[in-house]
């Protein structure tokens, strides 16, 4: 998902930066508001940021014979809604652009748009739709976390296709080419990431029940919660 430094034409780099900036600024306000109004959220907010920090640092092998990064933006989007992840995700990207030469400053806007805006919103949307369809928390978490991962890479493919349309196949041809590199490799990673999200929420439903109820992820239990009674 990291478009390397200098690899987007200047106009595209600027355009994506302008597109991502309001989301990131809004996200920063959302984080400050959350911490100020609900100081008890700080712990879980830290967990959401830490989850994306760990997962985006790890390169995982895939069935295609290449490797790629998970994103880890799904759980934060589900817990705190997507704007919060616009800031946290961009912080991760900035860390990687400055210290790891992974991604870049000129491509930060485009990468943030894919990783910190589209991914979290797509994941959150999938989570809400799955729940609205009557599914329990954990299936919805799986759908949300996996889709946040996959949507990020689809967006990156689209960004690259817009910048580098295929001479013969045009935009669609280029999109197919970049999706071929990114999306197929990403499918097993998205499944693995979805499972890790489920694991995280299994731990949280037992240990952070008051927070999950306040955030609206769990309905307040009328009787005392029994461990294992949540699914």
């Amino acid at each position: 998902m990291h478009i390397a430094e200098g690899f987007l034409p200047a106009g595209h780099a600027l355009g994506w930066t302008i597109a991502a900036a309001p989301f990131v600024a809004h996200g920063a306000r959302a984080v400050v508001k959350e911490v100020r109004e609900n100081p008890e959220s700080t712990l879980l907010l830290g967990a959401a940021g830490a989850f994306t920090f760990v997962l985006s640092a790890i390169k995982l092998p895939s069935v295609t014979g290449s490797s790629s990064h998970p994103t880890g933006t799904g759980p934060g989007a589900i817990l705190f809604r997507p704007p919060v992840m616009a800031l946290l995700g961009t912080v991760v990207l900035l860390f990687q652009a400055l210290l790891l030469a992974h991604g870049g400053l000129t491509t930060l806007g485009a990468n943030a748009f894919a990783f910190a805006v589209v991914g979290p919103w797509a994941g959150y949307g999938a989570y809400r739709l799955t729940r609205a369809a009557g599914a329990g928390l954990l299936p919805a978490v799986f759908a949300g976390v996996a889709l946040a991962d996959l949507a990020t890479y689809v967006t990156t493919s689209l960004q690259l296709a817009l910048a580098f349309p295929d001479p013969a196949g045009g935009l669609a041809g280029a999109l197919a080419k970049f999706l071929g590199v990114f999306a197929v490799t990403q499918i097993p990673l998205a499944i693995g990431e979805g499972l890790l999200g489920v694991l995280l929420f299994r731990v949280l439903t037992v240990n952070a029940r008051p927070e999950l109820e306040r955030l609206g992820v769990l309905r307040p239990a009328p009787v005392a919660a029994t461990p294992g009674g949540v699914a």
């Binding site: 830290g46 760990v54 290449s66 490797s67 790891l100 580098f164 590199v181 694991l199 299994r202 005392a224």
Partner: protein, 102 residues
């Protein structure tokens, strides 16, 4: 082992298998190059020259170390939070749901 713990262990095993099986089946024939790098190589082969270079590019070994540092920072914070939450639950005799004002 409780049913809950067993399911958690099974999820971990499934995740490990998901990434270990391709490695084993493959038998070491693939390079497992990053998809990000694959795209830049393709674009450069098509004649694109990046117009801006990273301000700081760590050498290979240092880069691995910094990636490990990023993962360690994240895992450390995650472990701290989950440990605190678990400690809070096991330390309070009443169920946490009852302590919630709403």
């Amino acid at each position: 082992m409780s049913r809950r713990a067993l399911v958690n262990v099974l999820i971990v095993v499934a995740v490990v298998a998901l990434f270990a099986v391709p490695l084993l089946v493959d038998g070491g024939t693939s390079e497992y190059g990053g998809t990000d790098a694959a795209v830049t190589e393709e674009l450069e082969a098509d004649g694109y020259t990046p117009w801006f270079d990273s301000l700081f590019s760590p050498a290979g070994e240092v880069e691995s170390g910094l990636f490990a540092l990023q993962a360690a920072l994240g895992a450390g914070v995650l472990g701290y939070v989950l440990g605190r939450l678990r400690g809070r639950r096991t330390a309070t005799p009443t169920a946490p749901a009852e302590a919630d004002p709403r």
